[in-house]
Subunit: 502 residues, 2 copies
Amino acid sequence: MKKRNTLKATDMGINTHHEPVIYMREDCEICQSEGFSANSRLLLECDGQSIIATLNIVDNPVLAKGYAGLSKIAMQRLMVKKGDILDISQAPVVSSLAAVRKKIFGNRLSPQDLQAIIMDIGNHRYSDIEIASFLSVCAGSRLNMDEITGLTLAMVNSGKRLLWPDHKEVFDKHCIGGLPGNRTTPIVVSVVSAGGLIIPKTSSRAITSPAGTADTMETLANVNLSLSDMRRVVAETGACLAWGGAVNLSPTDDLLIRIERALDLDGEGQLIASVLSKKIAAGSTHVVIDVPVGETAKVRTHTDAERLISLFTRIGQACGLTVRCVLTDGSQPIGRGIGPALEATDVLAVLQNETDAPQDLRNRALLLSAHLFDLAQQCGLEQGLRKATELLDNGNAWQQFQRIINTQGELKKPVAAKYRQTEKAPRNGMINAIDNRQLARLAKLAGAPSSPAAGLYLHTRVGQLVTTDSPLFTLHSNSRGELDYAMAYYQQADIFSIKETQ
Amino acid sequence: MKKRNTLKATDMGINTHHEPVIYMREDCEICQSEGFSANSRLLLECDGQSIIATLNIVDNPVLAKGYAGLSKIAMQRLMVKKGDILDISQAPVVSSLAAVRKKIFGNRLSPQDLQAIIMDIGNHRYSDIEIASFLSVCAGSRLNMDEITGLTLAMVNSGKRLLWPDHKEVFDKHCIGGLPGNRTTPIVVSVVSAGGLIIPKTSSRAITSPAGTADTMETLANVNLSLSDMRRVVAETGACLAWGGAVNLSPTDDLLIRIERALDLDGEGQLIASVLSKKIAAGSTHVVIDVPVGETAKVRTHTDAERLISLFTRIGQACGLTVRCVLTDGSQPIGRGIGPALEATDVLAVLQNETDAPQDLRNRALLLSAHLFDLAQQCGLEQGLRKATELLDNGNAWQQFQRIINTQGELKKPVAAKYRQTEKAPRNGMINAIDNRQLARLAKLAGAPSSPAAGLYLHTRVGQLVTTDSPLFTLHSNSRGELDYAMAYYQQADIFSIKETQ
């Protein structure tokens, strides 16, 4: 059975996202003798590296005889270049799939099962449909406490883990998302580290939102820190504001999230494991989680929020992490800017105590900071709030923010967009509701987050009286086409509900 | 929102199996303005046809500006040719996915839900990961009786349905598979139609086995019958032996089976719906199902078989179909030939009452025929067996077989393979077991079923004494390479267990 099947590698120039694809000719003898057909799972080996890839059969003369084409991600993961020799064989059975089948058939997964599954997914041994199968049978509330705990720890083990041996207590904050503009992190980090807490913050980029904290921070600072950069910045300032992707914490999470998004599955077990694994891997001991509740937020009812909060807290405890969840108002966006640079502008306004700084963003950041102080010092929430407010008002937080940024690199000025367009209220009345989801989509259509200056600036809030002269929002975009397209979307969407006031 | 995004179509020459893929340039303005990225789901429209396709981003100069490349299946389903104008937009939300999510969250699916899901899958609106998600949460025993019934009827409705208005009772037989060489269908059809039963048999090609009934019959006859051909043959002979694929019965089943195989999921609900939907769509009223049970067969234990049989019978009843399951010995292959032409040779030997015809194949076919006679005439199994034996022994079945084949086209002689190699027993002893799965794989490595003459011929059976002079099997192949490769596999496999007899 040890006959070698080899072909030379070549780049097909095709981006298949995370799923590696190998392209082989229809008349390829290996396909014929081995019985490979379109969609077969193949093991590719080259120079000690190996990956599993899905086969696509090609009858296009572009692919020369003797060559196998690889998609971008296959080239990358195998670390091959054109002409390298590939060994091609049937993919071996992935043994942890037996555990997935066990779960399909209604049995519980042990910590060992979850460890094996997450390791195989992390090593790219699962096809997309296999990941979809695993996530589907774990979605909803199909994972019990022990399983979510096992999943969390397995995800921690799948990547790097930061240790902060000089600090007994390491703090963190997180927002489960769904609320445009809710960019409290840079403010909270500045306030609590100005108050003496250690908070080495790693943040993600946007997945489906108009901006992630890393996208926003990148318009102001260098966020691409190596592990040793992070250590240096934290040693000097007690905090950092880094992009988490660069330090490889819980990397399997990203592979799962991609399929979860595609399936529009928001499994609570998955969400909890995703959040907590990143915090544990970052070396945190205490974390405050912002859970906005609102009709168009991620969590829609108080009942759902209570359940989620209870699970977060108990599973945190099982993993040795102190978790405090803060249920907040998620009925409308926070702040005025939506999009990386526009949110950065809001953050700066709050930190610099400008008179027109968005008060809702300020208040939300102070509340979360107060909870962190209370967690750290058991000072009570009121005392925590007083302390946080003082640190913000007296400029200490702003100074601390600048120290962090300057230690990471240099403070940048957020870029401005080329094109702007302001839309006024269609009629007189009171703003009754603002749809978070549609508003986020509007900002994305204007170009956020890939164009950092793009997004929108909100001029109104729920409860405000408007006339046909009142501006609702200003779109910011770097391309006329995107601006027009976003406006066309706005015209047919139903973002602002305006109630007539008689 | 009614801005049109158009590109010209071109064939990428890539076979992505059932999942349509659209390839767009990295610098394509549509991708940028619409925010499409690798793996986005897009709606493609052209001339009244539309499909949903998955996006792959290409940076290869092969794809010219202004063009979008399509995979084979995308070209076919959209019925476009190079240069046709495609309208490209974000794929609309597939509403039946809400029902899949409902099932994920542990709720039951209504007949309407199942109808909507199967219709959308049949119309290719689901991505592979969405089909995987649906199958995973329906696998194992996660579907109850009502759901399996709903799924069966939804699958019937997804394709054509044959009606036989001249016949009150229409018979059928099926084997759930897993046993190489178990080619009883042509014999059973000949016997029972010679005995007056109406049996318009449609069969499938091999999916993972070395031969399907359609593959075997194709070496003897024309099986590619249109619906009107089928009607004519059945009107003249009371039976037919056709390939089911040509008449589009329960077409969604094939889309599901592909993902089931890839996930190695054998959901019982899915299996039952798959089998029964094809029978109902074919217009059958009575069906006998052969359920071989054995350690290396599809059903491994009597407990599993009993459960499956009970479900088959009750769900058949709920769908208005009389189902009788026959539990048979699945411990070793049936007949001697494995592979299309080699199995056809066995079938002819039994029908022609040759002295060396394989008795196990003859007996299995007679048993199933007896059950069909008993179902039709309530004559009792013993009387049914007598009748079946008589029709076979007196040559009526063989004459009837020839009538059917000649009405379908012309009787062909099974082709012979170019290369043969016989393997002898490695030592003296008694054949203790034969591994069905590994034996099937051996026949496939020799080239079956794509090379109809390929496969193997078995010289021994369980319980037989062998010496190192006894031939175990003869491999048949049309290529030296495949023969060598199959032999290499045999050397490292463990197909024949030989017990020393002292």
